[in-house]
Symmetry: none
Subunit: 209 residues, 4 copies
DNA sequence: GATGAATGAGCATTCATTCAT
DNA sequence: CATGAATGAATGCTCATTCAT
């Protein structure tokens, strides 16, 4: 029954540590996250962290990178399916988005990046270049194409992108920060479904566009 | 005979300290904000902070309260002007919102609350109860009234509120976190103007709702 | 009888801390010296050290500088008293040297510099430039002048300087390292007196040079 | 069938480790020397060190012992060649000394002992008993014999020993600590040659001894 | 024997908080 | 009221030592 003092599992360690670190960073923020706690949750000693990551900041970076970047390309690729009318394209994007959101703690990561953008501008830059810029850019391009085809109303395509994506970001952050402290629960899937149709068709009734 | 040239009146001290603290908290986040720096920016000594605030956390709370709560009621009152059709109501809300945003660093405060929601749940609760809940509640009520009058399409009124407000939150956070590190500039006023009309009328053209 | 928790004595603090640090560094060497112990001996808290010195290394530098450099110029000046024949010049130097040695822990400092020359080359450089180079240079110049006047035998003046000073360095280091652990006591004054006459006149008797 | 090309024989390991350790200890001092680096330079793993030495301190002791003690007896024996006049005896000693110095890093070891005498008094004791005491004792005895024969001037024989050996110690330490950081190069052989004749005959000219 | 991943006590450094002035 | 020197608990990081393989 005695637990061996040492446990050797070199291959999984980085992943386990990243997972634990993601939890703690998301809960506490970068500065308030204690390496002691990350180590404890990862089931290793504090010293072990330093076998795999040079310091706290590098661990933070690794967490951001591992949790998000791999998913970005997948989302993007799903949209480069030409031939779909704009409405269906958007509906596809949102269903993918909800699915990814349920699987990876994208809300926690977004929260971390927002929190630490002042202290780690380079990190915010990575997030911007790898995630936000691509997401906004892709959607903006799709909108512009649809405008060219006469499918979408005039206006700045990038601002239209904010109209499309903003509510989802708001939803994610709401779930991350306010639901835990007693805010009325929010169903992201429902939000996505209703918002898509709303923004596509408009809130008002019976008025010519 | 003693008459120091620039004697600050004691009554202004708390305000000055709060203003300095808001700056530093917004730049660094709660944990990374140093009382040394807040004191320096406020032009007082570190010890003086403790004459007005029990500890760092109380100072943080005061900052949040002072910076936002007074503005919430004002915004709310502006909307309880019955008689306006829903579209005009929303347009009024957005113009007010943009104006407030330009005056108070609401983006910084939002960022702080998001950041520290894990460490200070009570604080997130204050923010939720005093700000978010009221904002969402007010808008939701307005929508429900408009739905009853047949002005607004069916659907969960609270989710419609996310459709309306989400892009503005996204815009605020974008300016707060990504513009400073090289993100393409965003004009919040333009965003507000275009988004209102879009979400009211719908993105798509010539399709029956 | 209760000691006040805080003691304010800003003007003396740096000196007191340096004195305590000199003791500890001399006993333990740089790496093994604990800031805890330095603080305790200085009668302050660990944090106080950082009010006056940026870090351990800067404290080390300050110790070296304060303990030695001021004394170097004094020694040097004492020798620029022209008119004395070489023998008297050397005797003057040695009596001054012994006096300084008794007052400042030059042995401890020498030991520290020798010890840490590998880890802090810049420090060894300061020691070299400010102390050793000047000492050797001054003595070498005096010897060359005496050689020109026919007072001193031929030969490399710098090597003659080693013949003159080496035994005193050996004596200092002996007292620093071996006396404390049971080595037979050594009287530096006696060493100086006998060595001067010996090196001036020669060890051997009745042999023509 | 297995016959690894470069299998090191186990018997050589301790020697190889000691050699690597001597290098690192000499460069960094005891406390700053990392077992990681010693292991790397010895071409073994960190764990292997513990197969041969109980801990860092024992390794340090072994290094000191192996590097110096064997050479002491050799030097000593070379001097117990009776029949030589004192001057020749001293010349023999110095030539031997220079030769040993060139072969073993006696300067590094001396530096280490000086550095760590405070932390390892027992080690300084070994060094004292095995090296310094014997060296000083032997030379002092030779001087006393020469004094009895009327070859050497009166005076404390032990202090005369400092006059003889001090410059060589100074030279060794100079090369160890100051040459590497830009001090003017020093030729130990030249120093030995000139110093012997100087101290034997005296610096001054034309004065009756 | 040999390895190197894992450990955890130890230490330099930071900073919110206190209090003598 | 105001100050800022002083405090000391907290924490990131190091590295000698251990042990499963």
């Amino acid at each position: 029954m005695k637990q061996p003092k040492f446990q050797r599992r070199a291959e999984d360690r980085p992943r386990e540590i990243c997972a634990a670190a993601l939890e703690v960073f998301a809960e506490k923020g970068f500065a308030s996250a204690k390496l002691d706690e990350i180590a404890k949750r990862a089931g290793v000693s504090k010293g072990t962290l330093y076998l795999y990551f040079a310091d706290k900041e590098q661990l933070f970076r690794a967490v951001i990178r591992d949790a998000v970047v791999p998913n970005v390309e997948r989302l993007r690729a799903a949209l480069i399916q030409a031939g779909l009318p704009f409405g269906d394209l958007v509906r596809l994007f949102f269903s993918n988005f909800v699915e990814v959101t349920a699987r990876v703690p994208i809300g926690a990561v977004a929260k971390m990046v927002i929190s630490e953008s002042g202290n780690f501008p380079e990190l915010a830059k990575v997030w911007h270049d790898e995630v936000v810029s691509k997401a906004i850019g892709t959607m903006t391009a799709l909108i512009e194409m649809a405008q060219a085809k006469g499918e979408v109303r005039a206006g700045d395509a990038r601002l239209h992108t904010f109209s499309l994506l903003g509510p989802m970001l708001m939803g994610i952050l709401y779930r991350q920060t306010l639901e835990p402290i007693g805010g009325e629960p929010l169903d992201l899937g429902e939000l996505a479904k209703q918002h898509v149709e709303t923004v596509l068709d408009g809130l008002l009734i019976g008025q010519p566009a």
